[in-house]
Amino acid sequence: MNAIRKSMSDIRASEELKQNTLRYLKEHQNTAKRATDRVFPVFRYALAAICLFLLFGTGGYAVYRKPVSYISIDVNPSIELGINRFDRVVSAEAYNEDGQDILSHVTLHNVPYIQAINKVLESESSYHFLKEDSLLIFTIISDHSYSMIEELSANEFSQNYDTLMYSSDAFCMAEAHNYEMSFGRYRAYQELLQYDDSVTIEDCHNMTISELHNRVENCQHHGVTQNQEDTQDQDGSRHHGECHSHHN
């Protein structure tokens, strides 16, 4: 018996715990059974949909469809999710072929966004991008980006992979889309541009997100360039949006 096994062998379920649980189950099993019997799953969804419609009417549907937050997922596949005020995905856009491949295999609409990200990361198409040392970058545009970052950090994928999280803004997103790029990748490009103004948007298109991030880190380790110091002295306006990083 090894030391860990021995240390845990005295942790046991007490009689009190077992009896309390049995008593609880006895008291609640009929209620739980009735709840599962009463409404068939499909009927439950239909009922929820009818309630929603009655509650909000057609105006409510417009509210439901409107994204209020965005998450850019960049692994190497680049995907942007639009999220409504109910934390559900209402749009999903791929910004490279790898992303398109994933979106052709998974359905994300109306799925809670954490679950949607799990679906993206667990899809077969993601398998050859996701290794133990893979870098996942999440960039968030939202009025409550901090709570979204917190929620993403609590999720399993943040523990399984090297994860970075940033917040950005609508201006950055609009510019990114002009270059047919996700705003997550574009934010990384902007960060690199602070250190190396010779890098072009085409270079960025041809780099994986890990390569982009590694170049930024290299620049950071080797000190900032004069050019960047000048830029920062002006007002830092090349840095679109705040870049709060959260590294797991």
Binding site: A3, S7, R12, A154
Partner: protein, 159 residues
């Protein structure tokens, strides 16, 4: 829905397993009681059948780990285990066990799971991968990293 006999049987068979998984994840006895009830309620409402006792046991391990994770998420995304769970068990733990468990409970959640399933329940990496819904290589990596941390903190003779 399962019968009262079934429920009594699995209570005797797996309550220690459920309790220990709760121990490595949760903050205190109060949380443990809630998760305990959830796990057995899931069993009560589970309509599928089990192919074998091993299948049933791994179902309990998986459902308990998921229930603990859900519970921690519910408790404002806390991903750490305070050591008061050890204080609650101080009457049954000797000094050495207490020292080992303090180190084990400081491991990240994913490492705690594999360490418990591997060393206590003696599951293989393949079986752990199945329970946790992870790839086998991921489990090997986690095990190796967790062992490395334990070796550093507990010394070479820890296992």
């Amino acid at each position: 829905m399962k019968s009262a006999e079934d429920l009594n049987r699995v209570m005797e068979a797996y309550s220690d397993l459920v309790r220990r998984i709760c121990f490595v994840h949760l903050k205190n006895m109060h949380d443990t009681e809630d998760v305990f009830q959830n796990v057995y309620m899931k069993y009560l409402l589970h309509e599928g059948s089990f192919e074998s006792a091993e299948h049933e046991k791994s179902w309990f391990a998986r459902v308990t780990i998921n229930a603990c994770t859900d519970w921690l998420r519910y408790l404002s995304h806390r991903k750490w285990v305070p050591l008061d769970v050890i204080d609650e068990e101080k009457e049954v733990l000797d000094h050495t066990s207490r020292g080992i468990l303090e180190i084990v409970l400081q491991l990240p959640e994913k490492y705690r799971n594999v360490i418990y399933l591997y060393y206590y329940e003696e599951y293989s990496a393949v079986e752990i991968a199945d329970i946790l819904g992870k790839r086998e290589n991921t489990v090997y990596t986690w095990l190796s990293r967790a062992k490395g941390i334990l070796r550093d903190r507990l010394g070479g003779e820890w296992a």
